[in-house]
């Protein structure tokens, strides 16, 4: 679910943007700094919603830019525990299921959090749920899946620097900065097609 968060920050507006109205140039700079980034303890920042306050610009010796203190609200994606979300299965692993939502792909459903009677089939690389002896329900890759949010985990990638969530800037073994742990244990969760 999305929330609005209020943040205060000092933003540098470069001289090249001096011809643009200040609100617009500050919004652009804020987007550069915050969009698609995880703020520790907060969530994934999507975009600026509105700018509430703009202080007078300050200059520093030896710098052509102007520093503007600003208070703004931004859209933050932050699911809460107990929320039901929809996504697509990215990968089935012996440890659980990875789910993607397009704009956010660090979602993991641990095997302990799957329905009782779920089995991992090595041959098909898929999870199978057996609600009773005769039925076998497969969870295949790319299938639409609903899950319940259990917890969110923030990893401090670099304490001083905000980290982009896109794959380009991350090397393979680095931990993602924000992970959602999900579960499929209540009725209505699991593959969407099961419940229709």
């Amino acid at each position: 679910m999305y929330i609005l968060s209020e943040i205060e920050d000092l933003i540098r507006v470069p001289p090249s943007s001096f011809n643009v109205p200040i609100k617009l140039s500050v919004t652009d700079e804020l987007h550069q700094k915050y969009s698609n980034r995880v703020v520790g303890g907060l969530g994934l920042v999507v975009a600026v919603w509105d700018v509430l306050q703009l202080d007078d610009g300050l200059i520093r010796p030896g710098d052509g830019g102007v520093f503007v203190g600003t208070r703004f609200r931004c859209i933050v994606w932050k699911p809460f525990a107990g929320e039901i979300l929809g996504g697509w299965v990215l990968e089935c692993l012996p440890l659980g299921i990875k789910v993607r939502m397009g704009f956010f792909d660090e979602i993991f459903i641990k095997k302990e959090y799957l329905f009782e009677g779920c089995e991992y089939k090595e041959a098909e690389k898929a999870w199978v749920w057996k609600p009773d002896a005769d039925t076998e329900l497969y969870i295949d890759v790319n299938e639409k899946i609903r899950f319940r949010v259990e917890e969110e985990v923030f990893n401090d990638v670099k304490a001083t620097e905000l980290k982009a969530t896109d794959g380009n800037t991350q090397s393979g073994n680095e931990k993602p900065s924000y992970v959602i742990i999900g579960s499929c244990q209540v009725e209505g969760t699991g593959c969407v097609s099961w419940w229709e």
Binding site: Y2, I3, H31, S35, N36, G102, R148, G188
Partner: protein
């Protein structure tokens, strides 16, 4: 950077969808062939690549999610006013408007202890209202079209045979 209020307001997916569409329009971003026809103005990217990427991916998700069918603010308001008569938590209401449940199972998953707090008739009312405001049409139409096409083919086939006989 200082976070003043971590959670100053809740937003529904529909509001986010509208806001992001606004950003897309302002910057003349082209994400699909449909957008291409509508705008041929210059692409603006002062907000950075990250903004464009997150707006694109989020829009894709939101439009394919149930709230993509919400056509106007009016119908959204109607739904909210309707939901206000029930004793639902704010988060539960949000989840209902985000997910638009059309089955009891899903509604029960969204609303905690739904069976104890609401009677079956009340739960059905919610689902009925959603179906009334946002009817599901696409699948039914698709099937009908398919059948018609098949019938048309059969008729043509007969005609050809009849001509051959003559």
């Amino acid at each position: 950077m200082k976070v003043v209020k971590p959670r100053s307001e809740f937003l529904s997916n529909y509001e986010v969808l509208r806001h992001l569409k606004g950003i897309q329009k302002k910057n003349n971003w082209v994400f699909s062939d449909k957008d291409k026809k509508e705008s041929n103005k210059r692409h603006r990217d002062f907000g950075g690549v990250n903004l464009e990427m997150v707006v694109k991916d989020s829009l894709q998700y939101l439009e394919s999610s149930p709230c993509g069918v919400i056509g106007s603010i009016d119908s959204f308001k109607q739904l909210m006013i309707f939901l206000n008569q029930f004793e639902l938590m704010k988060a539960e209401k949000l989840q209902i408007v985000n997910t638009l449940p059309r089955s009891m199972v899903l509604l029960y998953a969204l609303v905690e202890e739904c069976d104890q707090r609401f009677s079956e008739a009340e739960s059905e009312l919610i689902i009925e209202k959603i179906n009334e405001l946002y009817p599901v049409e696409e699948e039914a139409e698709g099937e009908e079209d398919g059948e018609e096409a098949e019938e048309a083919e059969e008729v043509e086939g007969e005609d050809v045979e009849a001509e051959a006989d003559n």
